[in-house]
């Protein structure tokens, strides 16, 4: 397939989706499914609404802090698990238990323990994303071959040098993949936590759910989508800036 055909098909897909949505929206009415033309207008209104924007920015902050904490805990933990069988045997059972435990189930007790403040959202985000960062880093660390480390040792590399010049570059794609997956879960759990306590974006969603019209609700979904896409794109850019040589290998695109 030529690139022009490819782009045509993609644009056609988006156009068909929007047309179908517009037709369905007009026939069902605003109460059930607002058409994209109305949603676009509301997005413009939303862009001019300083208060709503403030709420949205403020609710992203705890997600980013939680995501950063997840990386700071998960990456070393995963690397330790991948390099040391004893660590792995000790930690793996708990990580694989928590990764399948839906964070929604933990929310009620967290509300009792932490209240419904800023840190509550941070903890929910950490508890949902840290396991994915850990497990992905673990897979990468497991694949580092002993031979590579042996070469370092034969050339007299210190432990720190071996870590910096062998382990870290080999781990990099996995750290990035882990961060990507962790970020997806961080944003998901941010919305979940805020839906429970009705603040931030979750609060806006709940409010919009009470409206007679679904216009605002769909506009908010588009905003959340843009935030998620932008965050993931930003992470990709950051990775490219940190380690440009990996971008060329194409590994990043697939993970």
């Amino acid at each position: 397939m030529s690139p022009i055909q490819r782009i045509t098909l993609r644009l056609l897909g988006v156009a068909l989706f929007l047309v179908a949505w517009e037709i369905i929206g007009r026939s069902l009415g605003d109460a059930l499914m607002a058409p994209p033309s109305a949603v676009a207008q509301d997005l413009v209104t939303l862009a001019g609404d300083a208060e709503a924007q403030m709420t949205i920015w403020q609710s992203i902050a705890p997600a980013l802090v939680g995501f950063a904490i997840s990386c700071i805990i998960g990456m070393p933990l995963g690397a330790a698990m991948g390099r040391s069988p004893a660590w792995n045997a000790l930690v793996h059972p708990w990580v694989s238990t928590f990764v399948v435990t839906s964070v929604a189930a933990i929310v009620p007790i967290l509300i009792l323990m932490l209240g419904t403040g800023w840190w509550f959202v941070v903890v929910v985000v950490v508890l949902s994303s840290v396991w994915y960062v850990t497990l992905t880093t673990y897979q990468g660390a497991q694949r580092i071959e002993q031979r590579w480390l042996n070469v370092g040792r034969s050339f007299g590399a210190s432990r720190l040098q071996a870590f910096r010049t062998i382990m870290l570059p080999a781990l990099f794609p996995y750290l990035l993949a882990g961060a990507r997956i962790g970020l997806v879960h961080a944003i998901r759990s941010m919305v979940l936590a805020q839906l429970f306590i009705m603040t931030g974006i979750g609060g806006l969603l709940q409010q919009a759910g009470m409206d007679v019209s679904t216009t605002r609700l769909l506009a908010l979904l588009v905003v959340i989508m843009l935030i998620a896409l932008l965050a993931s794109h930003g992470l990709g850019r950051l990775a490219h800036w940190l380690a440009p040589w990996h971008a060329a290998s194409g590994l990043m695109e697939r993970t």
Binding site: V14, S96, V100, L192
Partner: protein, 245 residues
């Protein structure tokens, strides 16, 4: 030594939970033994088994519904180039939206009860399974198909000898991850819509500051997820004998 360590770690973790629970006031955190006796008591009076059974039935219905559409569609998108190009951008956009954000919308469309619970479970696991299947189907080794073609294998033989064996691994992965998401979807729906089954037990405990109850239900949810995942892994290993080598 590494064989007994996991068991040791679990015992140690439970002991730690017990100790933290004993040293904090019961409204904040309860010990493992209290959570366990809550579960035993709820099993004897019948509430827990009924709640689990009903939760699992909703879960199974939503999960199977999602899988029935996601796996064939994913396969189609993975194997037919123009379908992939046509649907990919829209799919990527919708997939970026956290499924829970659709909850207010789902309530408008389906109300607060069984239907909307099913809708949330489907939303939570559908896209995950679709994307994994699509990626897997795209990466089926071209060379395998070429070999089959050069030996002039008939269509049916290509399916049974190449497509099916090459697809089973990622189909199993999709089913496994989809299941974990479906469990999350079930409990989310039972908490955020009208409380029901396990979600209701959890919220009732929370309303009475009964942390033993809360922790007991969390453990139950974790165990359901673990058992489901282990069962699918076991099935995968039985079916995919050749993968082990």
């Amino acid at each position: 030594m590494t064989a007994v360590l996991p068991a040791l770690s679990i015992v140690f973790g439970l002991l730690l939970w017990e100790l933290i629970g004993l040293s904090t006031p019961p409204v904040v955190f309860a010990p493992a033994s209290a959570a366990f006796s809550f579960l035993v008591q709820q099993t004897i009076n019948g509430a827990l088994p009924i709640a689990i059974a009903q939760s699992l039935m909703t879960l199974a219905a939503g999960y199977l519904l999602a899988a029935a559409v996601a796996l064939p569609l994913g396969f189609l998108m993975g194997r037919v180039a123009w379908v992939h190009e046509l649907l990919q951008p829209v799919l990527t956009a919708i997939y970026a939206i956290p499924p829970v954000a659709f909850i207010p919308f789902v309530i408008i469309w389906f109300g607060l009860f069984t239907q909307s619970r099913l809708a949330i479970i489907v939303l939570m696991c559908f896209f995950e399974m679709l994307v994994i299947t699509m990626t897997g189907a795209r990466s089926i080794d071209r060379r395998l198909l070429d070999v089959a073609r050069s030996f002039q294998a008939p269509r049916r033989r290509v399916w049974s000898a190449v497509f099916v064996p090459a697809s089973l691994p990622f189909l199993f992965t999709a089913l496994r991850i989809g299941f974990v998401r479906a469990v999350a979807g079930t409990i989310t729906a039972e908490l955020l819509l009208s409380p029901a089954n396990l979600g209701k037990l959890l919220l009732d405990s929370a309303a009475r500051f009964n942390t033993a109850g809360i922790l007991g239900i969390i453990a139950t949810v974790a165990i359901i997820g673990l058992i489901g995942q282990r069962a699918l892994r076991w099935l995968e290993r039985r079916v995919l004998r050749w993968e082990r080598a």
